[in-house]
């Protein structure tokens, strides 16, 4: 007899289990709807040293790029761009402004040709010291970048400190300067 009652009590509790399960699913859905996840793909390399790479120069007369060049003690920016990238045009004035402030900027040109890059730089200004040729996006993939434009802040020891996805706008500049400052 007692066993029957116990079974009945447990059975009563179980009957509310589906409602509890549904409530849990509902909570998840509400969370996803009102606090939508950030869909930008971020690099997992932030905080880690640059991966080993060495690419040829994009333009003759200008040096190419390799990870060892970043370990010289000066924090700098690494800008991922391309001539066929529209937001890169919008970003160019901001990069020029940063250059005027004395920030060293190196670049990786993704899937591009010297002719197109030269034309781009002539039209939009040239804030770069070195431009590397990443014709098949191999370095881009190693860095954890998933599109153009992106900018990485690298500290003096060659470690990635910050990733900025998308073009640099005016209100992004303080954050980048702060990261550069901290990386000293």
């Amino acid at each position: 007899m007692r066993r029957g009652h116990e079974a009945a009590g447990m059975k009563r509790g179980i009957l509310w289990l589906p409602l509890a399960g549904f409530a849990l699913v509902l909570v998840l859905i509400v969370y996803a709807l009102f606090w939508p996840a950030d869909r930008t793909v971020k690099s997992a390399m932030v905080g880690k040293p640059l991966p080993a790479f060495s690419v040829a120069p994009m333009l003759p007369g200008r040096p190419g790029l390799s990870n060892t060049m970043f370990a010289d003690g000066t924090p700098r920016l690494l800008n991922i761009f391309a001539s066929w990238c529209i937001p890169c045009i919008a970003e160019a004035p901001m990069l020029l402004r940063l250059k005027k402030m004395g920030v060293p900027i190196d670049a990786l040109a993704i899937r591009d040709t010297p002719v197109a890059i030269r034309a781009f730089l002539e039209r939009n200004g040239d804030p770069y010291r070195r431009i590397g040729d990443d014709r098949q996006s191999a370095v881009q993939l190693a860095l954890g970048s998933s599109g153009v434009p992106e900018t990485f802040v690298i500290d003096g020891k060659g470690r990635i400190v910050l990733q900025h996805v998308g073009d640099i706008r005016e209100d992004d500049i303080p954050e980048i300067l702060a990261a550069l400052e901290q990386a000293k």
């Binding site: 079974a7 059975k11 179980i14 950030d38 869909r39 930008t40 793909v41 971020k42 690099s43 997992a44 390399m45 991966p51 391309a82 066929w84 990238c85 529209i86 937001p87 919008a90 993704i110 899937r111 591009d112 040709t113 014709r135 098949q136 996006s137 191999a138 881009q140 993939l141 190693a142 860095l143 954890g144 998933s146 599109g147 153009v148 434009p149 996805v165 998308g166 073009d167 706008r169």
Partner: protein, 145 residues
């Protein structure tokens, strides 16, 4: 979110179509051909099979939910080329997957790794079977021994 980002996300290649038709759409895509091994198979069928299996489990980062094996996007092609080149060089699929995860995080792999966060996910089949079996036992006749 990534409203500023336009490039690298096109599903559709332009190819020679733009030559054939007067006004092509202004897609933001490089006009370079695909990477070496984006659309070329490895000669060794065993290696190609390993590469293809791996490609089916890697996420295209600029697409709306496709693997790099199923996508026309340029970046997917670059990732396919990377996978094939490294398998060709003798790396194991697991090493290649791990290095892509090192670059992009677990997001790039459709096979979630087993960790404290994903333990409920991976253990769910066993939990559900156990729960269901326990719930169902009330339906069965109890034999008197």
């Amino acid at each position: 979110m990534s409203a500023a980002r336009v490039c690298g996300s096109s599903r559709f290649g332009l190819g020679l179509l733009a030559l054939l038709l007067a006004a092509g759409p202004a897609l933001a895509d490089s006009s370079l051909p695909a990477a070496d091994y984006a659309n070329t198979q490895l000669r060794d069928p065993a290696k190609e099979a390993r590469a293809r299996d791996l490609m089916g489990t890697l996420r295209c980062l600029v697409c709306q939910g496709q693997s790099i094996a199923d996508s026309d996007a340029e970046m997917a092609g670059d990732m396919r080329s990377l996978v094939r080149k490294r398998i060709l060089a003798g790396e194991s699929p697991d090493t290649v997957r791990k290095s892509l995860i090192a670059s992009y995080g677990d997001y790039v792999s459709y096979d979630p790794p087993f960790s404290w966060l994903t333990a409920p996910l991976w253990l769910m089949p066993l939990i559900l079977i156990g729960l269901g079996a326990w719930l169902a036992r009330g339906s069965f006749t109890r034999r008197r021994r």
